[in-house]
């Protein structure tokens, strides 16, 4: 077991190395350079351009720059943002990450409270009106493009009704719209997952046994079904950790929340190599760990899956 974990972690290191190398190479292959953003419309001479390029080490071949980055990385130094002049990347991440995490946590909490009971009930009352309507609702939740629904909510609640602020962060009211948008999607995904998992459990022998023992339906559901159904649901949630980022990119843009998602896409646009690199690096770590945990949990839940 221990050996297995070590081997997986080593494989993870290779994955991280390859992913960051590829990102770095691709970013440098793309035409343009952050220097163009830095000088903007200033009336510059070629000497100034050269001086800035040299100062940031951009005159060296990209693989050399990668090695420098890797070296710094191993010493725990994420480097500095070129576009946000000289600000340490770690500081930018520390500012942006809590924003994204907070949004997602609240959205997730809302989604959980609504989706789990709905999913279980839909599974138990399969083919009932509730099942149909909640599943169509969930399907609709997945089908709504989140940036679009964000715009619609702003128009309705901020512009027309003026109940809520249109964007930015600060008071609790600022959370409502972005959390609603994020939660819509998560709720939909979660409800479907829960329903599927519950249905599967309902067909297992031990449920039949429990029923045969004469336990009340409520007891069967809560004691046996829900507990067992939630395990795979939770696993999948953990597994999708890395998706937090992509989920919030557009929401953060629409609602002007300065989180990781927006930082990421901004940095790609401005070719701010160090920042993109750092985010991809962290993301890959999340992915590797998520994968490992998922497999371990699966093995724990289902001893039939032998770890080879």
């Amino acid at each position: 077991m221990f050996q297995y974990i070590v081997r997986r972690l080593l494989q993870g290191l290779i994955v991280i190395f390859l992913v960051t190398l590829a990102t770095f190479g691709l970013m440098h292959l793309a035409p343009g350079s952050p220097v163009d953003i830095m000088i903007g419309e200033a009336e510059v001479s070629q000497q100034v351009i050269d001086a800035i390029t040299k100062k940031w080490g951009l005159d060296r071949p990209w693989y050399e720059q990668y090695l420098v980055w890797l070296g710094n990385m191993l010493r725990g130094d994420f480097g500095q943002s070129m576009v946000r002049t000289g600000v340490p990347v770690s500081q930018m991440l520390l500012e942006a990450a809590p924003v994204t995490l907070k949004l997602n946590l609240y959205a997730f909490a809302v989604a959980l409270v609504v989706a789990i009971p709905a999913g279980v009930l839909a599974a138990v009352r399969r083919y009932s009106l509730f099942d149909y309507s909640s599943m169509v609702g969930a399907t609709l939740g997945v089908a709504l493009p989140n940036f679009w629904i964000g715009l619609m909510l702003i128009i309705i609640f901020a512009q027309k009704l003026r109940w809520l602020p249109s964007g930015g962060s600060g008071s609790w009211q600022h959370y409502i719209l972005p959390v609603a948008v994020l939660a819509t999607e998560q709720m939909a995904v979660l409800a479907r997952l829960t329903r599927g998992a519950t249905i599967e459990v309902l067909h297992q022998d031990f449920v039949t046994t429990a029923r045969a023992k004469g336990l009340s339906e409520v007891t069967v559901i809560f004691r046996h079904v829900v507990r067992n159904a939630l395990l795979p649901v939770i696993t999948i949630i953990g597994y999708r950790l890395a998706f937090i980022l992509s989920g919030t990119i557009v929401v953060e843009t629409v609602f002007a929340w300065p989180g990781l998602g927006r930082l990421f896409i901004l940095s790609i646009d401005r070719l701010d190599y160090q920042v993109v690199q750092a985010i991809v690096f962290l993301l890959t770590i999340l992915v590797v760990i998520g994968n490992l945990l998922t497999d371990l949990v699966y093995a724990y839940i289902d001893p039939r899956i032998r770890i080879q």
């Binding site: 793309a30 997945v142 896409i265």
Partner: protein
């Protein structure tokens, strides 16, 4: 995933060819009967049918040229002649929505086809050969699957430069992991089954075993997954367009239309509302259809 044998599997060995045909037909009609029970799935199927017709011959239904501009009509609201109004450069929105179905279908089906092809090949290879091949491929699949597709798409589209082909290829080559995983699991269990062992023993080559005996039996979940995936891909395309990395103008694409309408949402809301509704309904249709299919084809959930 599905480790329970398809019923077709069991019959294949014992039945002759004509018997097999018969089995398959009855299998199909049984699936159809199960599918019909899920009403929303039928509605989804009907809507998809309409979309396909629109996408094939948009010219028959679109009242105007989707590209022709009358700039003086910028943002003009809906009227009898133009039921959805005009966009920000004076184009008829209804016509653009109808023509946009073609792009949605092209992206949805094209990217899915690429993803399924790659996914099935990789999944079958991993599952059939096992060992270190499986180990490497599986790690790759795990990583890709856990990696947020949108992030990957953004990086690739930004670097390659956005276009219809880029969108289709990039989405196709980044979303195949789930197919690979499903196929691998199926193949893994199928390759130990007697009919496969029998085929091998009778001297069939590996390629033949995979293509003739294993894959056909692993396609059910793939079809379900693909149907459910199309909706997600249409959303991905619109998100890419929203981020300015999608299909380029003047090609009418729903995602690009929302993106166009964003700045004018206060003055000419119809520009963004109409394509948003179109995307939502289309994705909804594919997902409902996919749900129905799953009920019909996935034996685990059968009652």
């Amino acid at each position: 995933m599905a480790e329970v044998p398809r019923s077709a599997v069991a019959t294949e060995r014992i039945s002759g060819l004509s018997g097999l045909e018969r089995e398959r037909r009855s299998e199909f009609s049984r699936a159809w009967r199960r599918f019909k029970r899920y009403r929303p799935g039928l509605v989804g199927l009907a809507f998809i049918g309409i979309l396909v017709v629109f996408a094939l011959v948009p010219g028959l239904f679109a009242p105007y040229d989707p590209i022709a501009q009358d700039t003086a009509m910028r943002g003009a609201p809906p009227s009898w002649a133009h039921p959805l109004g005009f966009d920000h450069v004076g184009r008829d929105i209804l016509s653009r929505i109808i023509w946009g179905s073609r792009i949605a279908m092209l992206v949805g089906l094209g990217a899915t086809a690429i993803a399924v092809t790659i996914g099935v090949m990789i999944g079958a290879t991993a599952g059939f050969f096992g060992g270190w091949v499986d180990s490497i491929l599986s790690r790759f699949v795990d990583t890709l699957m856990a990696f947020p597709t949108l992030v990957l798409l953004i990086v690739l589209a930004a670097i390659i430069g956005p276009s219809l082909v880029t969108v289709i290829v990039v989405i196709g080559t980044t979303t195949w992991a789930s197919y690979a995983r499903v196929v691998r699991a199926d193949v893994l269990s199928l390759r130990e089954r007697e009919f496969v062992l029998a085929a091998r023993a009778s001297g069939a080559g590996q390629a033949r075993v995979i293509l003739r005996h294993i894959l056909p039996n692993a396609m059910g979940p793939v079809i379900v997954l693909a149907t459910l995936g199309i909706g997600g891909i249409i959303i991905l395309e619109s998100a890419l367009s929203f981020l300015g990395l999608g299909v380029q103008p003047p090609t009418p694409s729903w995602g690009a239309m929302i993106s166009d309408g964003r700045a004018f949402i206060r003055h000419y809301p119809q520009i963004a509302i109409a394509p948003g509704v179109a995307i939502t309904l289309t994705v909804l249709a594919f997902n409902l259809f996919g749900d129905g299919l799953r009920d019909a084809l996935d034996p685990r959930q059968r009652e």
